[in-house]
């Protein structure tokens, strides 16, 4: 039996019928990794022995007839900026090449309580800074649909692993689109939860007011299952929202009749690939045929989102990354005469080009004389963008737009021009600035490459988003397409 492209809910059903064991599934995933990893490079660190031991433990529990959580025995990959106790966590950076966390992120604790099998740590853009996974300090990841193309970033390893059968589910993190953009490029489902809906404790900080952990999955049902497992208030995270977690599985059964979906004009204008625009328009008609009411709307300040984002995100990054100085963990430069010298050389040797560029930009934006002109202004523009989105969401239940403006681009195409790379996130960034939930769902193809739509919801409206995405998915077959590998 070919297990590579089964969904988590299908696998769970097979486990309970004794038609498949967690050990068999885990072995199958590792043999898939062995087969493909030379071409894809989706992982930085594998966790084979512990994964097989965990799978055996789940099999024993199943044999004893224990009542197990829905994700028990499901192979899950974790982005390498999420701390895993005893398992190397590098953020794809040379500065953390040897860091072994002494604690688990809350999401990892929650997954362990759900008896999942942790396969390994996935590749990413260094410190989640990038839109292609070419900025990894270890190796670039390839897109499973066309290995000459990028999988997107920064959760490119997680998206590629799920798309290729190297994992069933994966966790990513999304600061400016880092879950939704690679999900769209790799033809999988990716959800960025509302800021505060999922604990950030143990997520290595890039831009603290924007970062969120979220699921990547092969279909919306799996996405809801993984979100259910990781969502909820965490007293260890002061930015975690004290709210009850909805029943996301029940939310999947939503009827679309009467749901109002806004189609922001600004997202469909200049700069969007005609094939992507066509996919979004088709998706709008599909939702309409299911009973949704589609109307155009406008978000007048959205064109200012990218510059505002890159000033805010880099300012926060320059502060967050000050902790990498070679004193307590990670790389320490040996060529140092004194402490200052050690800081400077450690950081210069340990950080890659994009990280240094962003630290420089953020330090400049926060420095005396420039704070008001750049950082403070960007935070005020953030207010306008948030107001635009919230105003539109008062009128509509959710918004529909492209997840990305083009399908996956070629490796090397944008990496030398940072501004071009930054513009790749133009469709996803506003959601992070406003702290809203957004989901990317496969909705078509362009030249043999996946194209995704994005649905944006009200704060803590993940249940509605999942319901709309599920209804769309179940009425189409895009999510069933798989790369030929």
């Amino acid at each position: 039996m070919d297990f590579h492209y089964l969904t988590a809910h299908e696998i769970a059903r097979l486990y309970r019928r004794r038609e498949l064991s967690a050990s068999e599934m885990t072995v199958a995933v590792f043999s898939r990794i062995e087969e493909l990893e030379d071409r894809l490079h989706a992982y930085i660190t594998l966790n084979k022995e512990q994964a097989l031991a965990k799978a055996r433990e789940v099999d024993q529990k199943l044999a004893r007839g224990e009542d197990l959580p829905p994700l028990a025995g499901i192979p899950v990959a974790i982005k390498d900026n999420i701390c895993t106790k005893g398992l190397r966590t590098t953020c794809a950076s040379r500065i953390l090449y040897n860091f072994v966390p002494p604690y688990n992120a809350t999401v990892v604790e929650k997954l362990m309580a759900n008896d999942v099998v942790i396969i390994g740590k996935t590749n990413m853009d260094e410190f989640a800074m990038g839109s292609s996974t070419e900025n990894s300090g270890f190796h670039p990841t390839a897109n499973p649909w066309d290995t000459s193309r990028v999988p997107g970033g920064s959760s490119g390893g997680s998206a590629a692993a799920v798309a290729s059968g190297e994992a069933v589910l994966a966790l990513g993190s999304d600061t400016g689109g880092s879950i939704r953009q690679p999900a769209a490029f790799c033809g999988v489902v990716g959800l960025k939860p509302t800021y505060g809906a999922v604990s950030r404790f143990g997520l290595v900080a890039f831009a603290s007011s924007l970062d969120q952990i979220g699921p990547l999955a092969r279909d919306v049902t799996d996405c809801a299952l993984l979100l259910q497992a990781i969502a909820g208030h965490d007293p260890k995270d002061s930015t975690s929202a004290p709210r009850p977690v909805p029943d996301y599985q029940a939310a999947l059964r939503r009827e679309l009749k009467g749901i109002k979906v806004g189609l922001p004009r600004e997202y469909m204008g200049q700069g969007i690939d005609p094939a992507v625009r066509q996919v979004v328009e088709q998706a709008a008609r599909q939702l309409e045929s299911l009973g949704a009411v589609i109307e155009e709307t406008n978000l007048p300040h959205i064109e200012y989102a990218v510059p505002a984002y890159y000033l805010i995100a880099t300012a926060e990054a320059s502060s967050n990354l000050a902790r990498y100085d070679g004193v307590r963990y990670g790389l320490r430069s040996q060529q140092s005469a004194d402490v200052m010298d050690m800081f400077m050389h450690t950081r210069s040797q340990g950080f890659g080009a994009e990280v240094k560029r962003r630290i420089m930009l953020g330090t400049y934006a926060l420095s005396a004389g420039y704070y008001d002109a750049y950082y403070l202004r960007a935070m005020k523009v953030r207010t306008l963008i948030r107001q635009d989105l919230l105003r539109a969401l008062e009128q509509f239940d959710c918004l529909l737009c492209p997840a990305t403006v083009t399908p996956a681009f070629k490796q090397g195409e944008k990496v030398a021009d940072p501004l071009q790379m930054y513009l790749a996130d133009i469709t996803t960034i506003p959601v992070n600035l406003a702290g809203l939930p957004g989901i990317a769902v496969p909705a078509g193809q362009a030249g043999g490459l996946p194209v995704g739509i994005q649905l944006i919801g009200r704060p803590f409206g993940e249940d509605l988003l999942l319901g709309v995405a599920h209804a769309f998915e179940q009425s189409t077959s895009h999510h069933k397409l798989r790369p030929q590998l």
Partner: protein, 90 residues
Amino acid sequence: MEQVEHVALLARLALTPEEKELYSRQLSAILEYARKLEELDVSDVPPTAHVLPLRNVLRQDQVGAHMPPEEALANAPEREENYFKVPRIV
């Protein structure tokens, strides 16, 4: 170039001459693009630093379990007893 050197010092980065030249060019282009924000009148707009209305989230000030020194120091590049060791400061 002088400004790049000053910012690099603030950021504790020792840049090579090639990096200084590259960042000077790239950061100028990015900041030029960021000037787009000047098109907007934001004089009456409050800044958003954070999207959640959470304020002063504090826990009880109680003694609890903590990480043993051995674990806390396990990743130290260099240590001496229960201290992180660094090059001479003074």
